[in-house]
Symmetry: D2
Subunit: 368 residues, 4 copies
């Protein structure tokens, strides 16, 4: 569909809803029949992005309760579309009335007006971070599917501003702190850095890293729908993401071929690479090793500091933005990146099935 | 389509063909009726990517002659699919026979085997750079359409290895040197650097930058099909690209909100941004200012130096790759990046048309 | 998307929901910004398909209340997805428990089991007529768009069993009787025929006709996405439809070329056809005259009479189906056919916009 | 893609080319790797639609030689797009120069002008029957895939004008006569009927029937992409087809439920239907029994008799059409219908694969 509110070709999520409308939601289509699924499976993931968890995220309190309205019967998916709705119950639209008259720097206010002629200005409308609720719900289902194949996606904060936060990586720490930092000793320092920024009415950016383990080889289509191209679109489709790289990414541009090539060796009769500069993808197709990718996140544009902007009456003005906003986007975006990666992987798994006639024969050989 | 040999939703290119098959080609669908088009329009662009132009590209000589087989009548497009074929006439398949038995590091040899069970190993088959001929032919048509709206795409080599090549930018230099460097004084130094690498049987990476001027505001769909997400996929779908960024990209991750936000001011009653860290896109939608994006290109994996790899008989071996290869990918990829950007922009222009009911009324108001 | 719960390329509806789940709904994507829309607009159309209106439809009472959850702001569409939910509140699942163990003739019970391995058997689950609520809601929006272009869709019962019901056509009668018969004098006779069938525990089929007036010429894409092919799929995608024809349809197969060709004449400088055997479409493209199409509807398969079938324990059994069912499908399908036609027309209108470069220039010419 | 020159979601054909351009062709995408395929496989099918075989088809002589340009390596498909080109070598464009100035009744001349503003008038351009070459080539590959699963498609002339030609059905006769009549005794009578029409400069319509045997159950997606809806679009996308029906089709509209329902019985522990009014599809999903469908074909509009029409100078005129045309469309359309059905079935087979999580596990379980 050309308006781009859906993602994926065979496993598809379609999100809908505005920040201050009645509800936000998602329809997941292409989930096969027979996957065990409960509302609790969705809720666990939604809680990871829920606002109001700490001082580092917007104080807007939302229960973000997932309601599955279709596609599940007696605890299992039926193969039909899964509709999930989350009602908005803490909208404070009056906070936003002022926004209707000017354009916030770094936001979509002006471009929505340019595109549509007007906009639902309440809380950013469709451009609000609340849209990602549908992505995370879809990601929850994608991860259920991946887990049946033992595929694991791990995502975390790699850096915040100039602070590198993923040295001495400990996977178990990621969801124990509010900043998704995979290293306990790094948390306090980073929190203090952020508290200083908040004091100044400022914000900052950071980098999210994601790795995928145990992915089968063969995923990704040659030419346009390469696995890395699809992952890139998935991640770049998240608000505030300004860059994407796979494997050693931009570093590769400064290397020579000898330095960058990953050589092969047999290890117990299995082909292994001596290094993984490629990030697990060659020619757009997964090679069976770990996928590694990164996303650059810009600083929250909603800062309390005075900013220069324009209003719709043709005047240059100074503004101080009110409302409730995340002082840093990175930690809340971690689960969104993970969800989009998981959704992409399921889609590519399904698309790869028809790559060999032998697979088709396997499915339709009797007894079915 | 799920195998991903096509790109674009409303303006679509579908490429086909293998490096050493009879021909490579492209079908361009969704080109409106009434665009003036000749084979010469295509040929000019194809010549920009043609191999054998200098010592920095593969010595394989190909005329790369564009044949338009459909969709054009009396010098104008008819609104039906435009089929373009380029026959391969300088294949030396025997050069590649050896490749069938082992996997070249950094290439798609192994992953194609993993995906399909076997591969057309001659010159990389479908994973060859020759596939990009179709992209460049499609890009030629896209640029014809963009030019009717006065939109301009400019692409060049930003860096090669550690050498920054776009300081003192001069647009007119780009296509005057074999390396697409937009700065005459930079060319010799860079050539010498590359000649040294070639002597060592080595190669290197680099960065390509692209800017788009005079793009209307309003392009890009909110949520998944953001303009930056679509551009990202377009660029990442090119072989050897390992990273993508828009505006200040990865740098934004290290900035604070005050530093990164682009403030607005009226200038002769038109809204302008005081800076362009965003790269011309806000909330996934073009804001009317210049689009700026970059792609990280890895070093050519086909190097003459001895490499460690495996063969299909289960042995660890050392190889020295024969055949004809580009010692650096960057300059030949410049026109491919430009083509993919142009195709994406046309697609997004067409998709934006239906964003307002007023546009629909404008089209169907009588007299037509 | 490959599971086919969505319809349309540029104006798209995606339905979800099961007969006895919590709710059924639809997401309409691709509706341009600026269309005036209220819940009442949707409700008027939903009421036309609401069950329990007469003895000729299932006695299941449902309020079928439309809730618009997104995509509308201050009475106008915003260009973002419109999510509409209708909660199910009169499910009597216990009526259906028995169905889980055998297969009803003429229903999808067996084929859902074959496809998915199991099924949500309550009220037919996803195969229930309640799925069409989303289609009718989408059709309501499509008709709002068509009306801005003065395009009119009229649909009615052409025949029931062997009774021809559309002679002496009077458009104003269609929605005044429960059978959508466009001829007052025909209603009583037909009702008596149906009452006799109901007494026998039987049912019958019929034909629905649809005409479209004031459609612009040029709609429909040559080759595969012809206007007639798209209309055919739209109509055949409705449950219980067994045949589709355009213009004189199957009758054309018995005619000669001289009899069938529609000759042209100028009438006040406008080209007119002397007849309309083609049904308003030539070469898959609308010619500006009236579109005429028909759909053949099978008899309701759920009859009270004893039927032979099988159960899942491997036994041949006799059944008498309980539950609430329409004794004739035709009248309730009329609004569904009309909705699908309207949706298709909007989609084709939008797709036609990019057929000429002149249209593109018209949209992007300044001032925007 | 919105211009509709492609068909199928997972197994896709994209045709291109005009009647009197340099060539016509097709790109088949989504064919899995490992299918044995030669140019001869394509040629056998193309010969079935080749013009000039008898007095009942246009005397235009074309070799219609299939050239496979990509996607096949050492006799097997590689999983990449298969490009097939057929060069036009018997164009007589001067025959058509006159057509540029007036509109032939029953043709797409006027509607192409209305849509695009002008047209390639030579031989009908894109609306020519030569476009179906690509469909038949695609059908050849689809049938190769179906044959690996033992699925068989049989298509034939059911009636010509008022003559029923499929009584005493004998499959072996279909391709032995020029009219695709499955009954030897019927051929002469029908030929004489047609010869009389030709003498009068007239033409006639007919009905094509197609049956599919040994199709697995479970094909077809509920809701919009029902197997019957997809088949309907496939068949209605062929020029000159005015109606489509599945099973007993329009007859069902005159039956009662008792007459129309197909009852179930166990036969050797397998569920069988006592009749097949449904035509092998229930709820849009194949039930494992024979698929039966029919298409109504209009009479050839190009008749030699004088016809009334208009020219582009605003005059009413009488015309006598020159050029070479089929006096009856039915026999040449038989292989096109068969091809479109085969392509649809392969697409639906591939789409059904992801309907159960068990299938996914089967594919990705190791060893692969």
């Amino acid at each position: 569909m050309s308006t781009g509110s859906n993602f994926g070709k065979l496993f598809t999520i379609s999100t809908w809803g505005e920040s201050h409308g009645e509800a936000v939601g998602v329809v997941i289509d292409g989930c096969p029949a027979g996957v065990e699924l409960t509302e609790e499976d969705i809720q666990i993931e939604l809680n990871k992005r829920k606002p109001g968890k700490s001082i580092f995220s917007t104080p807007r309190k939302e229960s973000d309760k997932a309601n599955i309205l279709s596609g599940v019967f007696e605890g299992k998916t039926t193969g039909t579309p899964i509709s999930i709705v989350v009602y908005n119950n803490n909208q404070k639209s009056k906070d936003y009335s002022e926004i209707s008259r000017f354009y916030r720097p770094g936001h979509a206010d002006m471009t929505y007006d340019m595109k549509y002629g007007f906009r639902d200005y309440r809380g950013g409308g469709r451009s609000s971070g609340r849209e990602t609720i549908g992505r995370v719900a879809g990601g929850a289902i994608a991860k259920k599917i991946l887990s049946t194949l033992n595929i694991k996606v791990t995502t975390y904060t790699k850096s915040i501003g100039n602070i590198s936060t993923s040295i001495d990586f400990d996977e178990n720490e990621i969801w124990k702190n509010d900043l998704c930092i995979p290293n306990k000793s790094c948390v306090e320092k980073t929190e203090n850095y952020l508290l200083d920024l908040i004091k100044d009415g400022n914000s900052c950016g950071g980098i999210i890293e994601c790795r995928v383990d145990n992915l089968p080889s063969g995923l990704g289509e040659p030419v346009f729908d390469r696995l890395d191209a699809e992952l890139s679109k998935a991640v770049m489709s998240i608000g505030s993401i300004k860059g994407f790289e796979i494997g050693n990414g931009f570093s590769a541009s400064k290397l020579t071929g000898i330095e960058n090539n990953d050589f092969y060796r047999y290890e117990n009769d299995v082909i292994k690479k001596e290094s993984n500069n490629a990030g697990g993808i060659l020619g757009g197709i997964s090679d069976g090793s770990r996928i590694v990718l990164r996303a650059a996140v810009k600083p929250t544009p909603s800062i309390k500091t005075t900013q220069r902007t324009v209003n719709k009456s043709g005047e240059n003005i100074d503004i101080n933005i009110k409302g409730r906003h995340d002082p840093i986007i990175v930690p809340r975006a971690v689960i969104v990146v993970e969800s989009m990666v998981a959704i992409t992987l399921v889609d590519m798994l399904f698309r790869n099935v028809n790559s060999r006639i032998d697979n088709i024969k396997k499915i339709y050989s009797k007894p079915q």
